[in-house]
């Protein structure tokens, strides 16, 4: 696998994502400053938009990054089938770029929240859940202030009908309850994909959950996310 992580101004989780993919997954990873993406992006097997913050998230999370020139090229490639993954702020950028539907708004608690949550895999058709089986439970941490997924009724129906909801927040018994929803996301949605499944956005941070030493549960479910992407790539080849 050869992938690129785009580092925007003020990106904070870029190095963590590089570490997980390079050191844990053994991939070839280029971390490239958003103004210095000179060689062609289509040389890569996948594009990653990292999490954390960009531009301080001063206006609205992800919105300024969405208007950088490099995102124009990402959009074009995504439409041609290039796998594009957004984690946390990256998901917010994908939504702001309209590569994914809906919006991410302030948490219903009105507070930033960092904690380990349970995710239920809802489909294995996305590029990031190829190895998941519907109903699998992944333990992965969140860290966001604007992670509440919202979409209108019609849009939600489309997501459901088209099998685009990739993960939901659930409790220990895999039930999507109000208590297990950390931010008030509609229908407990934690991550979605586009119709084709090649563009995937997720609020929790798989790169923080790829080694058991970092997990209070001694799990490494973040690996399943990256392994799935590897599998998707192999199937594409």
């Amino acid at each position: 696998m050869k992938v690129i992580v785009i580092q925007f101004s003020g990106s904070t989780c870029d190095r963590d994502l590089v570490y997980a993919m390079r050191e844990i997954m053994g991939w070839e990873v280029d971390l490239v400053w958003y103004k210095e993406v000179t060689h062609k992006l289509d040389n890569y097997d996948a594009i990653f938009l990292p999490g954390g913050f960009t531009y301080g998230d001063y206006l609205r999370a992800g919105v300024i990054a969405a208007y950088t020139p490099v995102m124009q090229e990402v959009k074009t490639l995504a439409k041609e089938g290039m796998p594009v993954f957004g984690i946390c702020n990256g998901f917010q950028i994908l939504v702001e770029s309209q590569l994914l539907p809906g919006a991410l708004i302030g948490n219903d608690t009105l507070r930033f929240s960092c904690k380990w949550v349970n995710l239920r895999v809802e489909t294995s058709r996305s590029a990031a859940t190829k190895l998941g089986v519907k109903g699998d439970l992944w333990r992965i941490p969140i860290a966001h202030g604007e992670g509440r997924y919202f979409i209108d009724e019609k849009g939600l129906k489309e997501l459901i009908d088209n099998d685009q909801i990739v993960w939901r927040y659930v409790n220990e018994h895999s039930e999507p309850t109000k208590e297990s929803n950390p931010n008030g996301s509609i229908d407990n949605i934690a991550g979605i994909c586009n119709l084709e499944g090649n563009v995937v956005g997720l609020m929790p941070h798989p790169e923080r959950a790829a080694e058991s030493i970092l997990s209070p549960w001694e799990t490494d479910h973040g690996r399943l996310y990256f392994k799935s992407i590897e599998n998707f790539h192999r199937e594409m080849m």
């Binding site: 101004s9 003020g10 904070t12 989780c13 190095r15 963590d16 570490y19 997980a20 050191e23 400053w33 103004k35 954390g52 913050f53 531009y55 301080g56 998230d57 001063y58 608690t109 507070r111 930033f112 929240s113 960092c114 904690k115 941490p141 860290a143 202030g145 208590e179 941070h205 790169e207 923080r208 080694e211 030493i213 970092l214 209070p216």
Partner: protein, 749 residues
């Protein structure tokens, strides 16, 4: 010089300070010179009261790379790496404007780490407020937490732990102390020195405005009814700019473009141009018009003392100016070349072609100290050290335990630390709330080693007995480090006190420093830096804060994967209490919560014994004999063991009869706060090895009972059953009370 002049009698300095200035200068001052001297002579910048006392603290050891005097302490952690750490107060700004005060406290402490050349990787915080139920406390706590969180989260530095204490003496003057630590390769150490004439002085980052004018002076007086008008002395942070500054600075250091580095904190440009010159034995000359100002009508003196945030001061070889400029441009960061290092020994400032400042650097950086009077406080003679409450009846224990677990100083701090990113950087192996100290692995620096960090304060004990309270505090913080399996290396402190001009306050300050110093010497944990915050005195109500030294102890683990936390792991594991329990209830949560008493004996630590216990705890953890470990502090043995149960979601069934104590009283065994005691759990096959390790030093290690799968807390003493509580019931009051106080009660959970 064309500027308006200031005569000797117009200068707002003490007699001795004026003497020092005019003996050297023999002329009137310009207005900017006067402003610079006034701010550098403020308590906050000059440490004029504390400097005569601080040398009592030991500062040397083979592990020390940089001690006090630099922006942060630096210690050797092996494998060619150095740990940089520092703790600082932002009390006065936070009392007025909790959001911006706390946020810029974080901003400032990050710069202290960065300007030593290290990548900042972790943050800690320590808050002291009035009682939690008070609405003003809730307002402060809400916005301080948000300020710390918003800034730290946005720059992408993980929280590694902290502590909070609630006490009426902090009602108006809250204490907000923040710490940061970072790691670097030893050869990347950058010093705040201008050593070579001809080098260029560059100011990077934000523009200079009127925010934070006189911040250092504001922090050097009591809080009064008029303090509200000092709101302009509170700076405003810009964490996004800070993030870019961090990345640009580290990139410049890595390619060797930085000859010297200084952050702009208290006293702004004045401090940077004088301290770098004095430390390097050189002079500095700058052109003030080069500085980008936010308001066009700013006076030169305002520009010189402004404490606007997000600025860094670089000293760069002339041949590297172009290369470093390219890095700054990459990040779209504004910068200006202000001037040059000279060999004059003076700080010279030019403005519109005129020389407006020409002062010897040492006049700014080494103002005279002030000898303060001391007197033992009257309240101390009224205390009854022999006080003991009547022993509770057997049937009263369940309720006592419930009340303790629900008290302000014991309840879970989860509502606070959930608002901080604790995971970023992929370092946190023992996270906030999981152990006595935060443990960060250092995977990105190519080592198996880890660092352990903790903050500790105990104003209740320091109030009743500043010497023993402070000694116990440092011991307790070192025990925090040992409890995760790390070796304590060094500490930095933040000494929060009232008005130093009050002899009774200054007496407590001296005793606290002596207590820290004596403990540090025996434990061989030197002081590598610190901060003093005086004038934490609420004039309207005439209340000084309780003496509140706060320490930041850092330690190292050879293998971060060997760290242990406090969670009980499995049913039927064996529970041991290590150390001897004494009748020491002074300043304890038990005395406060159950009897509202400030009497009783504050723990008198046997320092040599404590050192042996700490060594042996580290040894048994390193040998893999321990499954969970927690040191005993606030609330005593009962609270410590219950916290382990809550963290592991398992119960326990124990008997107190084997506890080695100077008393037969069950309440003292359960609630005394004698330090240097640990609770450990272990598997059956390791019991003998553990007992043998502690027996070598005649340290009691008493088997008390077992972890139970039934989620109940069951405690007997001989044949009396004292406690039988459901873990879930205790969890409800302990875990959710802070959230309920802050957010209102939820109908269902």
């Amino acid at each position: 010089m064309t500027q308006e002049t200031v005569k000797k009698n117009e200068l707002n300095l003490t007699k001795e300070e004026k003497e020092a200035v005019f003996t050297t200068l023999k002329r009137d001052l310009t207005l900017p010179e006067a402003a610079m001297l006034e701010v550098m002579n403020s308590e906050h910048c000059s440490y004029k009261s504390s400097r005569p006392v601080l040398p009592k603290l030991p500062t040397e050891g083979p592990q020390v790379i940089c001690g006090p005097g630099e922006d942060a302490g630096v210690v050797d952690i092996g494998d060619g790496l150095a740990l940089v750490f520092k703790l600082e107060s932002h009390n006065h700004p936070s009392a007025l404007d909790p959001y911006n005060g706390a946020a810029t406290g974080i901003g400032g402490i990050i710069r202290d780490i960065l300007c030593m050349g290290a990548r900042p990787i972790g943050l800690l915080d320590s808050f002291r407020f009035g009682p939690l139920s008070n609405p003003h406390t809730k307002w402060l706590l809400k916005w301080v937490t948000k300020g710390v969180g918003d800034y730290g989260n946005c720059v992408g530095i993980a929280n590694a732990g902290g502590e909070i204490e609630f006490d009426p003496s902090f009602q108006v003057n809250c204490l907000i102390n923040v710490g940061c630590f970072g790691v670097m390769r030893k050869e990347e150490l950058a010093l705040s020195r201008a050593t070579t004439p001809g080098d260029k002085l560059i100011l990077l980052g934000g523009s200079t405005g009127r925010d934070g004018i006189g911040g250092a002076s504001f922090a050097s007086k009591n809080i009064t009814d008029e303090s509200e008008s000092d709101r302009g002395a509170v700076q405003i942070g810009d964490p996004y700019m800070k993030k870019l500054i961090i990345d640009a600075t580290l990139e410049a250091i890595q390619v060797g473009l930085v000859a010297g580095l200084k952050d702009l904190g208290a006293a702004g440009v004045t401090c940077s141009i004088s301290e770098t010159a004095d430390a390097g034995g050189t002079g500095t000359e700058i052109d003030l018009e080069k500085i980008r100002i936010r308001e066009s009508d700013m006076e030169p003196w305002e520009i010189l003392v402004s404490e606007s945030q997000e600025r860094m001061f670089f000293i760069v070889k002339p041949e590297n100016v172009e290369k470093i400029s390219a890095i700054f441009k990459k990040y779209d960061l504004p910068y200006e070349i202000l001037g040059t290092v000279t060999d004059s020994g003076h700080c010279v400032v030019k403005y519109k072609g005129q020389k407006i400042v020409d002062l010897p650097a040492h006049l700014l950086t080494k103002p005279p100290t002030t000898k303060r009077k001391t007197r033992k406080p009257k309240y101390l003679s009224k205390l009854d050290q022999k006080w003991l409450p009547k022993e509770p009846k057997v049937e009263e224990y369940n309720d006592l335990c419930r009340r303790l677990m629900a008290s302000d100083n014991i309840i879970s701090r989860e509502w606070v630390y959930r608002q901080y990113d604790t995971e970023i950087g992929l370092h946190s192996v023992v996270k906030s709330g999981e152990g006595d100290a935060g443990v960060f692995r250092l995977q990105e620096f190519g080592t198996k080693r880890g660092v352990a960090v903790t903050f500790d304060g105990n104003s209740s004990q320091c109030y009743l007995d500043p010497y023993n309270g402070s000694a116990a505090l440092l011991v307790e913080a070192c025990c925090n480090i040992a409890a995760v399996g790390a070796k304590p290396l060094a500490f930095t402190d933040c000494l929060n006190f009232g008005n130093p001009e009050d002899p009774e306050v200054f007496w407590t300050f001296e005793k606290a420093v002596e207590g820290l110093a004596d403990a540090a010497k025996v434990l061989e944990v030197p002081c590598v830096g610190g901060n003093v915050s005086f004038y934490n005195h609420d004039e309207a109500n005439n209340v000084a804060v309780k003496p509140s030294p706060v320490v930041f102890v850092a330690g190292v683990l050879e293998d971060a994967t060997k760290a242990v936390n406090k969670k009980l792991k499995a049913a039927d594991e064996f529970i041991f209490l290590v150390g001897e329990t004494k009748t020491e209830l002074g300043g304890s949560e038990y005395a406060k919560v159950a009897y509202n008493s400030e009497n009783g004996l504050v723990p008198q630590v046997d320092l040599s014994k404590a050192k042996l216990i700490i060594q042996d705890i580290i040894k048994v953890i390193k040998e893999g004999l321990v499954t969970a470990c927690h040191d005993i502090s606030k609330g005593g043995f009962f609270v410590a063991l219950t916290e382990m149960a809550l963290a592991g979601n398992l119960g326990f069934d124990i008997n107190l009869r084997r506890i080695v104590a100077d008393t037969e009283r069950s309440d003292i065994k359960l609630f005394s706060e004698t330090p240097a005691r640990f609770i450990i759990t272990t598997k059956e096959e390791n019991i003998e090895k553990i007992i043998a390790t502690f027996a070598r030093h005649e340290i009691p290690a008493s088997f008390l009972g077992k972890v139970s799968s039934e989620k109940r807390l069951v405690i007997q003493d001989k044949d009396k059953q004292l406690v039988n509580l459901s873990l879930d019931e205790i969890n409800q009051v302990w875990k959710y009370r802070l959230e309920e106080e802050m957010e209102g009660k939820k109908e269902e959970r």
